[in-house]
């Protein structure tokens, strides 16, 4: 039987994160749907990033925090522990401490914590603001300047708040995450708005919004699939690699919180596996065990392409 193969007119952009050198990480560049090696190429392996906060994780489930142990008391120790434990190639730092409902740290304080983490690790960085627009618009320019030369990936730019972070990333040479609420139309529009500011579209990663297993994951999957197919047909405003925050979404589900640590880990892995099949290029994980499993799983999938 003849295999019907889809043709790709245009590949996904390649995005380099981190200082140029052996530690830098490249994602994207594929010309086929995930792991369909007979239809095209996946020149870069999907990457596992491990996520930490810049403060103690007050709302994380006890089981997850227990696994991380005392390290969560100190962000630098946490970063080192997470990287040593998982061998992740990227560290994702969420600056939650700055949020008014958390520690309400000032931008300067937050940046000084970030600096100490950045000095202690030698992997590329993803840095996410606290999620409060007003606070982030003050904080992220300072983050960006502090990390100048790191070629980091910063977020989030959203449809209602993208100018400050896009301008500062442009000035300091960072890449940017554009976030849309499980909506391919808004995703495309936001990428246009950001690139209209002179931002190079090949330096954007898209966050289509992660939904966890059991909480609308199929919807995210179909949005990602639609977006990818359009990109392969030549839509440059959707040709960005995807980043998915798997840990963040799964560990707030009832099942993860109630199911004990194995339940949560399995929930995180199941969601991550599905998102890889939807086209995720960077998966951001919280549980070290889940992160390790995903690295192994990706290796296994990529072996079929060799």
């Amino acid at each position: 039987m003849e295999l019907l193969k889809e043709k790709c007119a245009s590949p996904i952009n390649e995005l380099l994160i981190g200082k140029i050198g052996p530690g830098a990480v490249k994602v994207g560049g594929q010309t086929c749907m995930p792991f369909l090696f007979q239809e095209g190429r996946m020149p870069n392996v999907p990457i596992v990033a491990v996520e930490i906060l810049d403060c103690e994780p007050a709302d994380w489930p006890e089981d997850l925090v227990k696994t991380l142990g005392l390290s969560v008391k100190d962000p630098v120790a946490w970063a080192k522990y997470a990287l040593a434990e998982t061998h992740a190639k990227i560290l994702c730092i969420r600056l939650q401490g700055a949020h008014p409902d958390w520690l309400n740290r000032s931008s300067d304080e937050t940046v000084s914590v970030l600096k100490s983490i950045a000095c202690a690790v030698d992997v590329p960085l993803i840095v996410i603001g606290c999620g409060d627009d007003e606070k982030d618009n003050d904080l992220m320019p300072k983050v960006s300047q502090t990390l100048k030369g790191h070629n980091a990936l910063l977020g989030m730019a959203s449809q209602n708040n993208y100018k400050t972070i896009a301008a500062t990333c442009l000035a300091d040479g960072h890449s940017l995450i554009t976030e849309s609420p499980i909506d391919v139309n808004i995703a495309k529009q936001l990428n246009i708005l950001v690139s209209d500011m002179g931002f190079d579209p090949t330096r954007i990663a898209m966050h289509p919004t992660t939904a966890s297993l059991g909480y609308g994951m199929e919807y995210t999957y179909s949005i990602m699939e639609r977006s990818r197919l359009a990109a392969f047909m030549g839509d440059k405003m959707l040709a960005m690699p995807f980043i998915l925050f798997i840990g963040q979404e799964t560990w707030r589900t009832k099942e993860s919180k109630d199911g004990g640590v194995a339940g949560g880990v399995n929930w995180e892995i199941s969601t991550a596996v599905s998102m890889l099949q939807a086209g995720a290029d960077i998966i951001v994980m919280r549980h070290p065990g889940a992160a390790k499993s995903m690295t192994k799983f990706i290796e296994l999938l990529m072996r079929r392409g060799k």
Binding site: K188, I192, L193, D235
Partner: protein
């Protein structure tokens, strides 16, 4: 939708003059303008006033290729003139055109094969342009069969139902649209379909609205290419919107701008 810019045509006085005086900057400017307005190919016609059609065709192709690498649609009633263009064309060219007459098809498909070019096939023959749908479809099928004999893929074939001016063949326009739909069903993969869009509004005073209304109606019936004026912004907006409605592109607020950025 393949947009083929129509403005480099010796029928236009300034283009004829530029060809005659070898003013390549004028031709190149026209090429660049059309490409930046969304043309993915350019029709090149030396026009009826040329004294040395072969040399003019070669010069036009070479001049345009210095400024853009889009496909060129070599438009001449003479196969030897088209071949002069094919000899120097760098990217895959489109031959404009052959009728459904065996002699002409043999000649045109032979050079198409030789230069790996695509071909526009007109649904007409020695007896002229048909005035009914079944004859149009019959001629289109004849062109497809001949192309297959020559080993030319149907993806490389553009079938043209021949668009008649609204003030000449008003009773034919609906039939032409229906023919486009039928052409697409003649084989798998479906052949491309094409029209010389501006024909429909020849001699009218409201050309743009007639052109763009026909275009969207034809697109909804499977039209896949058109030779048109890409500098008509309203026309291009209608084309982009029709593609959107046909789900060829993903909607966003700036969909017109997004298309133009592609």
């Amino acid at each position: 939708m393949l947009v083929i810019g129509e403005l480099i045509n010796g029928m236009f006085r300034d283009v004829a003059k530029a060809i005659q005086n070898r003013e390549s900057d004028i031709i190149q400017h026209l090429a660049e303008e059309q490409v930046s307005a969304g043309a993915k190919a350019l029709d090149i016609n030396i026009g009826p006033y040329s004294k040395d059609p072969k040399a003019d065709m070669k010069w036009l192709v070479e001049s345009i290729q210095k400024t853009t690498d889009v496909s060129l649609c070599l438009d001449s009633p003479r196969t030897d003139v088209i071949e002069e263009g094919l000899k120097v064309a760098k990217s895959k060219a489109i031959i404009n055109s052959t009728s459904a007459d065996d002699e002409e098809m043999d000649e045109v498909f032979t050079i198409a094969k030789k230069y790996k070019a695509q071909v526009i096939g007109l649904a007409m023959d020695k007896s002229g342009v048909p005035n009914d749908q079944s004859k149009r479809v019959e001629l289109a099928a004849k062109i497809i069969a001949k192309a297959m004999d020559f080993g030319i893929a149907t993806e490389d074939l553009y079938l043209d139902p021949i668009l008649l001016p609204i003030n000449v063949g008003q009773d034919q326009e609906k039939t032409i649209i229906e023919s486009i739909r039928e052409f697409r069903q003649l084989c798998t993969p479906a052949p491309n379909t094409i029209v010389g869009l501006s024909n429909i509004s020849q001699g009218t005073k409201t050309r743009s609205i007639i052109n763009r209304t026909f275009l969207t109606m034809a697109m909804a019936n499977g039209l896949s290419a058109a030779i048109l004026d890409p500098l008509d912004r309203d026309l291009m907006d209608a084309l982009i919107t029709a593609e959107l409605i046909l789900n060829k592109n993903i909607y966003c607020e700036s969909f017109l701008e997004a298309y133009r950025k592609k």
